[in-house]
Amino acid sequence: MSDTRTTGFPGVEQTVLGADEIIINMGPQHPSTHGVLRVKLRLDGERIVDSECVIGYLHRGVEKIAEHRSYQQFAPYVDRMDYVAAVSNGLGYCEAVEKLLGTEAPMRAKVVRTILTELQRISSHLLWLGTHAIDIGALTPLFYCLREREEILKIFEKYCGARLTTHAFRIGGLQYDTYDGFEAETKRFCLDFSHRVDEYEALLTENRIWIARTKGIGVLSAADAIDMGATGPVLRGSGVKWDIRKAMPYAAYDRYEFEIPIGQNGDTYDRYIVRMQEMRQSNRICLQAIEDIPAGPIMGKVGKVLKPPVGEVYHSIEAPKGELGYYIVSDGTTQPYRVRIRPPSFINLEALDKMIKGHLVADVVAIIGTLDIVLGEVDR
């Protein structure tokens, strides 16, 4: 019935499928695998008996490239990993290298970084919300989300000239100071945005079909989430109150008040609620930060040529998708000896097989959506 050469599991080709079992190959070209993810599903009717993720279609060897570029040259590459949250990637990398160098960015730079990163978190979550909703069949939220995301991208564009792969920060601080009207524009957006989130929630949060489609779907217990190394909203949705911004504050997060929203059941609905709340919290951080951006230099004292002392460092930030870590080994030359990127999407995706077992095909789509993966980051 099925072409085993293209759809079979390794080792399963020979086994006879049960009478009602078929194998479906979801992706790499599929409307709702969010890129070139391929999931092989073994179905009993529409229920998933077994599954396997096949990734690597977007592998570009970022870590190898890093070993052949100087520290500054590599910075734009990290934007291409999680391309819907490039600012966060850049922040993580710059801070990791700064830590390796033993310097710190000036306060003004840190605050601007915080604002931009939080805006990026909102925009990343907005894109997640839109695509997740469209996966579950609600067409309309996507367009509202893109409308707001557009505002954020406009702010990025005015700040650094790029919208998507921004390369907004430099090692040691910022290249550009904020443009005239940055504060006003950001503030206008933030004030407006809290009502917008209400709008989205009005469409979905209390919607009975939405609840039916997300409650109890893809449950990941707290213990499992920790065991699977899940981070970010996936971990918090399972009820673990952990956020690197609070646990090990970086940039200027220790200056601002915000809460860590958590879920209880670890299902898709909880993760949805967590991300919605996170958008509100990010908005809150932005509003606080925009009120007083300290004056001062935007660039710390780093040389033109960076030669970090021999040694290694691990630094991670709370990216929109989860813990984004950089493990950099320096051999004292201008090029990193090894850059290891700990990609949140990659490790969150690992939980997929566990989460979809026993669910229906329709739920696979919902669960892939709720993990909020970006294949550029999974495959690097």
Binding site: I55, G56, I65, E67, H68, G229, P309, T333, Q335, I347
Partner: protein, 220 residues
């Protein structure tokens, strides 16, 4: 950084520029061989930042507990940029991992990766980044592996390790013993070579594979 509680944890042997850790064996700084096969021409030394950071030997309670339990299997302990690093014996990695998870509370395997030092006697570092939710601390375990030596798998301790070890195998060719299904993850299954090894040039590719499967001469 100041507020980073985890990094306060090592009873910080001061911010002072650390001289070579005396207690450590000479082999350890070899973790940074001065001249790896770096293809780039040495740049003119332009104001290098003062080398105030670097490895400092570490001997706090945590390390003492580990040493008390595993003795010589804990080869070394130091801190680098205020981050604790334990070098452990290859054979006892699984037990040490289990101990760190159950007794020390490092229940979250943040990352597992490797570093290739081709000039060194033991070629690979396998690096495990751990985190404890309870203590809000990070810990790094390292295992030195020679060419052809296998590393015990920690998939039984943390499920996360599954894909991470597969990636490590894919990129470095390190075999993890006891892994349920050690196949390539990012590269195609039939690919030859392990790209993150230092002797794998950045322009290298499996031309035979590319030609056969993509029908083009070169992927560059």
């Amino acid at each position: 950084m100041v507020n980073d509680p985890s990094e306060k944890k090592p009873p910080a042997p001061a911010e002072t520029p650390s001289e070579k850790p005396a207690g450590a064996s000479a082999e350890k700084p070899a973790a940074a061989p001065p001249k790896p096969a770096a293809p780039a021409a040495p740049k003119p030394p332009a104001v290098p930042p003062p080398p105030k950071e670097g490895p400092v030997p570490l001997d706090n309670d945590l390390v003492k507990r580990f040493k008390a339990r595993f003795g010589d299997n804990i080869r070394e302990a130091w801190t680098d940029r205020k981050q604790a690093i334990l070098v452990v014996d290859r054979e006892s990695l699984a037990e040490i991992s289990e101990y760190s998870r159950d007794d020390e509370g490092f229940d979250y395997l943040v990352d597992l990766t490797a570093v290739d030092w081709p000039k060194r006697e033991k070629r690979f570092d396998v690096v495990l980044n751990l985190y404890s939710f309870k203590k809000n601390e990070r810990l790094r375990l390292k295992v030195f592996l020679g060419e052809g030596e296998n590393c015990p798998s920690v998939t039984g301790v943390w499920s996360t390790a599954n894909w991470l070890e597969r990636e490590c195998f894919d990129m470095f060719g390190i075999v993890f013993e006891g892994h349920p299904k050690l196949t390539r993850i990012l590269l195609p299954d039939e690919w030859q070579g392990h790209p993150l090894r230092k002797d794998y040039d950045i322009l290298t590719q499996d031309t035979a594979w590319v030609r056969e499967n993509l029908g083009i001469e070169s992927g560059q």
